[in-house]
Amino acid sequence: MSNKNVFFNPFSKSNPVLVQILGICSVLAVTAKLEPAIVMGLSVIAVLAFSNVIISLIRNTIPTNIRIIVQLVVVAGLVVIVSQLLEAYAYDVSKQLSVFIGLIITNCILMGRLEAFAMANRPWPSFLDGVGNGIGYSIILVITGFFRELLGSGTLLGYQVIPQCLYDAGYVNNGLMILPPMALIVVACIIWAQRSYNKDLQENQ
């Protein structure tokens, strides 16, 4: 697989969220507003890219029996750095994300990519794979956050987008969009759209 495919495939054809079904927890939990969704996406890109590089560098020295623990420790170290940085420079957002920054450690995308790619490839392709998958994940995060914030609160990134005259004419925000279950429905709609376009991804059960 060429480096270009490694980087661009995760955007749609092998998207970590829609196709590999990894890392769903955070997609659903942090997308009630757009801003935390973007910050979460950036954090995951950073952690994924660097943990891929580190694991790829030491892949030949890790004993197979304890590789899961080694991977977890590398990831946990990076996540601690990210969470301390966020607390220092973006305190409000890190409050909103609460436990979900810590939960990047158990984000299945990380373990999935480390196991499937970084353990078997050289550092540079692993870095591209990490960034590519991170972006693929962030795309879904941002789309979901965009629709939930727009329809749920009528704002984007905290700015009022839906004009006041619409509210005067009787428009109301859909409060259901802010509640947790609607995240599932929005992601299901994205899956629906992507699979009706990409017919070979459809399951036949």
Partner: protein
């Protein structure tokens, strides 16, 4: 009484799946038939019930600010809470390993039915999530941590078994639009069940 209330709340109101979406990856992958879903549910309940009290003790007597006072009064201003992510995940990973070995030795029948799920649990976000919530909510005693852990575990078990039962029927009897088959419809089923669980909000004993 308070603990009982917390236990019930953890099962129905603060449900790991429907309110926080933790452990969604394995939830979606395994909820295709009731039997395996139940097996994984039991394993998760077991791990949550064990790791939460252990992590509570570590958090209170080692990690949180001033927790080391019992060793010597000089340690009163030491705050190790930045290490909590790494410590929690290490406890979870090693407990998983330990429980796996113990179950293999003393209960081969149980091991045969849980076997493949036990190692997966180390990276199930519901387990780490439970410990992080415990830290965030300042639980006051080991009993509280134990009740919350057991409650979250049973809630997870309930959720995955219920959704697996619905998915089995849907796969057999209904004509789902092709792009939604498999994962898509599983998202929507979970969302509808989540909305149903919201009727438990405000439950008190």
């Amino acid at each position: 009484m308070e603990n009982l209330n917390l236990f019930i709340r953890s099962i129905f109101v603060d449900n790991m799946i429907f309110a926080y979406f933790l452990g969604m990856c394995s939830f979606l992958a395994v909820s295709k038939n009731v039997k395996t879903a139940f097996g994984l549910g039991i394993a998760v309940t077991f791990m949550l019930t064990i790791t939460l009290p252990i992590n509570y003790l570590l958090n209170t007597y080692v990690l949180s600010s001033g927790a080391l006072v019992w060793l010597s009064p000089e340690f009163a201003d030491i705050d190790l809470s930045f290490l909590s992510l790494i410590v929690f995940i290490a406890v979870i990973a090693s407990m998983t390993q330990l429980v796996e070995m113990a179950v293999e030795k003393y209960a081969p029948a149980l091991y045969a039915s849980l076997g493949i799920f036990l190692p997966l649990i180390a990276v199930n976000c519901a387990i780490l999530g439970g410990s992080l919530f415990m830290q965030q909510r300042d639980f006051t005693s080991v009993g509280t941590a134990l009740c919350a852990g057991a409650g979250w575990g049973i809630g997870w078990l309930l959720a995955i078994t219920a959704v697996a039962a619905v998915r089995e029927r849907v796969a057999q009897y209904s004509n789902v639009p092709a792009p939604l088959r498999g994962v898509g419809i599983a998202f929507i089923i979970t969302a509808l069940m989540g909305i149903a669980f919201m009727s438990f909000l405000g439950i008190k004993i």
